[in-house]
Symmetry: C2
Subunit: 298 residues, 2 copies
């Protein structure tokens, strides 16, 4: 997305600069589009009878340890540090504050981290044997990924809305593919010029490049990509992922038949999807082509 | 709240234990009550023409430095640590992970922290001179306070919904008092046995006790309190705060007349207010007395 688009978002008050690149307040109008898109996905999934869950932005640190996130995406993660050292630590913090020095480096690590995908805290809660047919979830939550920059489509703190299946391999693959198609339909219906690509996760480092290469060869991940301007590089606004038995191994999730469960998730970045029609049409949703408001706010 | 109430919330699936005390997933039913309460407050404030804003859970660290939070509430705060040390740090993290050692203590402090009140990132964005009549905001966002424990009414990660006024002193006080009364009406209308008390913030340490004593003497803060069970100590589910010119000093906010702006905020803990009717009536909102659903879901 271009600086012009960002400037327009800030000038119109849709986004509010709060002092660090990548962190924004959202206006009532922005939130109205968010709610419209959330509602559209919720309605599209009514036939799935998924359990709808909301998770917090802060999650147990062990989740990131056991699901491989620390191994594969250390550069993106955020952990929570605390100031639990009583009066003595407090005095040191105050001295640092007064001299304009870094007080936060005196804080200590905790068992808490920031969620980097809304479905992360779900998998440990599904340990054990799944019912016949597996389990389906519709998940929302706020996430954090450290990708600093000015592009409003790459916020540090953003929300995700995800559809998750845990069960037999063929059902997990079918879930991923059905929801990929549904997302394509939903996003096309908003007048967005999208594309679908075979994709890889941004695994870290040398080992990461091998993991990415395998992921691509097995076509485990698809992304729906969108460019805010003709010259921009298209960026994922949604991803559809087949995890094989990755979470089974991490959290002991067994299918009804006693085999290891396979999982899939289809998610979208709520702010990225919200920005897409704002860049395609106008910054004022009241002027959008008539077919679009009627979908978002039926 | 009692362990029985917590057990009922978990058994009914309204809350989902995600592995650390104080962190919970929320069910569709829980979220439906949340939306009802958010809508009720939004409607009650329609005459205010407030700017409605949503802020992220992660905010710039300088906000907590300049607004006095680090000084006054170090024990409650959370800062964000990052792993930006490249391949070398990654190798160390993996070694710690493999041995079950604390890898997060290798991370480094950042310019990011967790928001501990939804309105915190607002004040720096209001630097400068306010328009005639001041400015009004309706704010929502996810917050973090480190108060670990089993009581579901004391979550580590929770949401707040706040009404904020910045302007002349008499308007700030009037805002606080009008919204205190409105909250009392709204919460009474949900069939809740609430009380209103003069309150103080949980300022840290020895200096903090003096600050609290002054705050009480000047009756700057009121809380609406509620007990889930007759034997429980009533706990704040909402607070109404007159900040004097605290944020003016911190962030250079001037009133239209050129005097320092005074501010007030009235907020409620979204999850605490949601839990209150669940404990007063039944865990299934469909069985609540008929006057209540008609208010929440008109």
């Amino acid at each position: 997305m271009t600086n012009d688009f960002r400037a327009g978002l800030l000038a119109s008050g849709l986004l509010i600069d709060i002092g660090v690149d990548g962190l924004y307040g959202r206006s009532a109008t922005f939130q109205r589009v968010v709610r419209g898109i959330d509602g559209l996905v919720n309605s599209a999934g009514a036939d799935q009878h998924a359990a709808v869950l909301h998770f917090p932005a802060v999650i147990p640190r062990f989740v990131l340890e056991r699901n491989g996130y620390v191994r594969s995406f250390p550069d993106l993660l955020g952990s929570v540090s605390l100031s639990q050292g009583g009066e003595e630590l407090h005095a040191k913090l105050l001295a640092r504050l007064e001299h304009g020095d870094d007080w936060a480096e005196l804080l200590t690590s905790s068992d808490l981290a920031l969620s980097s995908a809304a479905c992360q805290p779900l998998y440990p809660t599904c340990s054990g044997r799944l019912p016949d047919g597996g389990r389906r979830f519709e998940i929302s939550g706020e996430c954090f990924r450290y990708e600093p920059g000015l592009d409003p489509a790459r916020m540090l703190a953003f929300r995700q809305h995800e559809l998750v299946h845990l069960g037999d391999p063929y059902r997990a693959v079918a879930h991923r593919d059905v929801w990929l198609e549904r997302f394509v339909d939903l996003l096309s219906g908003l007048g967005l010029a999208i594309g679908t690509v075979i994709a890889t996760d941004p695994f870290f480092g040398r080992t990461g490049r091998m993991l990415a290469s395998n992921q691509r060869a097995e076509t485990l991940k698809y992304e729906i990509v969108f460019a805010a301007e003709p010259d921009d590089e298209p960026k994922a606004i949604s991803s559809s992922n087949y995890h094989l038995d990755h979470f089974r191994t991490a959290f002991g999730i067994e299918s009804a038949s006693g085999d290891g469960a396979h999982t899939a998730c289809n998610g979208f970045g709520v702010e990225r999807v919200t920005l897409a029609p704002l860049s395609t049409h106008e910054l004022d949703p009241d002027t959008w082509p008539p077919g679009i408001p009627s979908r978002l706010w039926p």
